[in-house]
């Protein structure tokens, strides 16, 4: 039986490689916010209050482009609605926690942390205190996000744009799903999601980010249903 401390550290280690993409992206996000002409305190406060990578940039870009606050806020909600899916998956493993602990741990649910902790949860279902893994991944991402966005705000775009480090974002997610490429049903679901995202990319409010997963999950349920026949 692993101690809470060990499970927490395991979470840190499991998510640490993703900092290769999170840190440059955080610096870019912070720098863009200031370049768009926003108050630096406001740009940083978003990392605390919203704590949601791409949605923070979209919010500022929309406002600076003259969109209404309503549009900007709605877009953040739409982009981040994918957390509902993560929560549904995680709920099974967190159900024994008190409501207070659930409310606290929820703040730390982020894409890469969800992905790595979900992999750990699947393998260690019956272990006690597995939620410390989610805390480990989530807090690591939180700390790195705060430091890197702050760095971007203070130092500006120290990441040379020629390096194209934004490309590290798709790469980090490729690293997450690549192990499922050996399962044909997962490949189908991924292709449905990916192709949908290209088709619906121009849909209003960045809604492709939630439309595509929903279409892909419908495809998954059709696959499951056919398997049973």
């Amino acid at each position: 039986m692993l101690s809470k401390n060990k499970i927490f550290k395991r979470g840190i280690l499991d998510v640490a490689p993703h900092m290769l993409s999170v840190i440059p992206f955080g610096i870019i996000c912070g720098a863009i916010g200031v370049e768009l002409g926003f108050n630096p305190y406001l740009v940083y406060a978003m990392s605390l209050i919203i704590f949601g990578g791409a949605s923070q940039i979209v919010f500022l870009q929309l406002l600076s482009g003259g969109a209404s606050a309503l549009i900007a806020v709605t877009s953040v909600g739409v982009i981040n609605s994918r957390h509902l899916l993560y929560g549904a998956v995680l709920s099974e493993y967190l159900e024994k926690l008190s409501i207070l602990k659930k409310l606290i741990i929820s703040y730390f649910v982020v894409d890469q942390g969800f992905a790595e902790s979900n992999k750990y949860f699947k393998k260690n279902k019956n272990q006690k205190h597995i939620h410390y893994h989610l805390l480990g991944t989530g807090i690591t991402l939180w700390v790195c996000w705060q430091i890197s966005t702050l760095t971007g705000i203070v130092l500006g775009s120290i990441v040379p744009p020629e390096l194209g480090l934004k490309f590290a974002i798709p790469l980090t997610f490729i690293a997450i799903v690549v192990s499922d490429l050996k399962k044909i049903d997962h490949v189908v679901v991924m292709l449905v999601s990916g192709i949908s995202s290209l088709i619906f990319f121009d849909a209003p409010l960045k809604s492709y980010i939630i439309i595509s997963p929903i279409i892909a999950l419908i495809a998954a349920s059709i696959l499951l249903w056919r398997k049973k026949l």
Partner: protein
């Protein structure tokens, strides 16, 4: 006004994180739904990957010889065999840089 918007956006984002974790209990999810939920990672992440690889900053399709395609292909191959996150990201970035800066 912007501060208020950020606060509301933050509250909505927190709600998206908290709702399912606090409201769903085990008996609400039957086996069927759980099976579908096991595809969540495969259903969500390609919607981030595909636009990041196939579209440029302006949302237009990239050319067939774009270095991002090469970088992504190398990352998939390296990732598939190494099962290592650092190797996947670095192989993708380095092969992308080789095309841009060396060739």
């Amino acid at each position: 006004m912007t501060w208020l918007s950020i606060t509301i956006a933050g509250m909505i984002t927190y709600l998206t994180r908290m709702t399912m974790i606090t409201l769903i209990s085990r008996d609400m999810l039957n086996g069927r739904i759980k099976q579908v939920l096991s595809y969540v990672a495969s259903a969500v992440f390609p919607a981030i990957i595909f636009p990041g690889v196939f579209l440029n900053d302006y949302g237009n399709f990239i050319e067939i010889n774009d270095p991002k395609l090469f970088g992504a292909a190398i990352a998939i191959i390296v990732g598939f065999f190494s099962k290592n996150v650092i190797a996947t990201i670095l192989s993708g970035l380095i092969s992308y840089w080789i095309i841009i800066f060396v060739l």
